[in-house]
Symmetry: C2
Subunit: 315 residues, 2 copies
């Protein structure tokens, strides 16, 4: 039998695709949060797709919420390069029985999220499909593009934005509750720290990523791309009071939400030691030499196994 995506997982698939692609000649091509393209620009471009039933459930998120989330995910990818989103393209694949009002509300949410940055939807595509797929391409400008691969031993690791809130909100919803509202809303309408991306770039960030698969999973990606060991200090990672309070009611360790949650689109960046960090960043760890077992992420000195703090969509 032929190998399937279920066999090799999402990242295995992406590696296979990368093997097919020749070097793009672009400053940043395949494999980072966004592409940077020299079109007398440079232009930063990324795409993010949400599928109904998988990335959102109609009973847990209004169409406007889905719009905010889809646009936010794409725009956060631009911020993670140190860029600022200026335009969006929206490709919609929709069942014929989709209500028009749902699509109008969806686009309203996308438009409003874009307007947070003065960005605009400038194009798109609509096709019919058996299930609902929302694919958002974000285009932006950047001064200096910050990739995943520039972290160096000795750098400090810092985080901007809320982390763990959306995961907590999802737990609340999946257990049939609607409150605490702040957590549910954090899931329904994330607030990615868009400004922190360009600020980090200006402050000399050596590497950056947005947290969409999980804090550990994404820092792992950054560490692997940079060929370093990132050691996170669990006592330095902010755990909001709301998470702690709610976690006891749900019998969950709040740090699980913070380490495994991905939907807040917080930003993690590395900076040379002694850098003046932008105010929105909190130091959460340090970059060291790759361990004998290879590059990766550790928490309080213990190497992360690659499981339990993130997810691959195809497993």
């Amino acid at each position: 039998m032929s190998e399937t995506i279920a066999d090799i997982g999402e990242f295995g698939l992406i590696r296979h695709i990368g093997d097919v692609l020749p070097p793009s000649g672009a400053p940043v091509g395949f494999g980072d949060d966004s592409a940077v393209i020299d079109i007398a620009g440079p232009v930063v471009a990324g795409v993010d797709t949400m599928v109904a039933g998988r990335h959102f459930k109609h009973e847990w998120a209004s169409a406007e919420d889905v719009g905010h989330r889809a646009a936010g995910a794409a725009m956060a990818d631009i911020a993670a390069m140190g860029g600022r989103c200026v335009a969006l393209l929206v490709a919609l694949s929709l069942p014929a029985e989709t209500e028009v009002s749902w699509v109008v509300d969806l686009m309203t949410g996308i438009r409003d999220e874009a307007e947070e940055l003065g960005a605009a939807v400038v194009g798109g595509d609509v096709t019919r499909s058996d299930n609902t797929v929302v694919s958002v391409t974000a285009l932006g400008t950047t001064g200096r593009a910050v990739t995943r691969s520039g972290a160096r031993p000795g750098d400090v690791v810092a985080m901007a934005g809320r982390q763990g809130w959306a995961a907590a909100g999802l737990t609340v919803l999946s257990r049939g509750f609607r409150s605490p509202r702040a957590l549910v809303q954090a899931y329904q309408r994330p607030r990615p720290p868009y400004d922190s991306g360009p600020s980090a770039a200006a402050a000399g960030a050596t590497a950056m990523i947005d947290v969409s698969d999980g804090l550990l999973a994404d820092v792992h990606h950054l560490a692997r791309a940079s060929g370093v060991l990132v050691d996170l200090d669990s006592s330095a990672i902010p755990v909001a009071d709301q998470l702690t309070e709610t976690s006891s009611a749900f019998n969950v360790d709040p740090l699980t939400w913070v380490l495994a949650g991905g939907d807040d689109h917080s930003l993690v960046a590395t900076f040379p030691a002694g850098s003046q960090l932008p105010g929105m960043f909190t130091v959460i760890g340090r970059v060291g030499q790759a361990a004998s077992s290879g590059a990766g992420v550790a928490v309080d000195g213990r190497l992360w196994s690659g499981q339990g703090g993130g997810h691959e969509h195809f497993r």
Copy 2:
């Protein structure tokens, strides 16, 4: 009951979306083949999506064919603005049971089609979905962007590229045949006249569109956007010998393929009378004042009803 997409059709839906969107501030925003964005560029950006079972069937097109078709459709949208594609982003939504080799072949087709223009895949996204959705964003450069809306009475209408071939190939396949190969291949791997777009722009084209919904349907779009009547001369529209020969075996009027076919991605452009047309363009009609019944397209002086020569995906 609430209104559904089935009620209002694809273009009705796009109008609803347009109503939600404020003016983008972009030179060309929502509603044209591609967006043109001033990022010290300008950058031309468009997105095109193909859904399995709707835009392609696995038994009629190999994964590589699908890749060529998906990339070609997106890149033709750039050419239709007078632009040249330089980069692609590919968003894939795939069932977990998809074979890896299918995806590798798909990306190979996309890569190879991009290389026709020296363009490269620079990013993308992979998500799980119940059905296969391939969404390609194309980014390009342009000197002068040619929109749909600049046609003026007195202009000549000209076409570049093959037209009707892919539709004929689809007819052949859908009746269970595999030949004539040239027609089947035209469906499986269209050859959009990429170079004709920038050439038309340089030659002073006043409006341009790529034929993806059908020749009549797309010229109708151009005519409506320009507020004019486009009168096509059926005797001037090239009908290839291969189409005529095959049509008799299938008992089809070959002009139906030419007028209704959309998958060749030929380009239709309007030029001021007396212009020196680029060699690949053939004059097929003339632009006149909008009829009392409004803007639209006519063939040999008879106004097209809006049906029979194209399709809306949601009806």
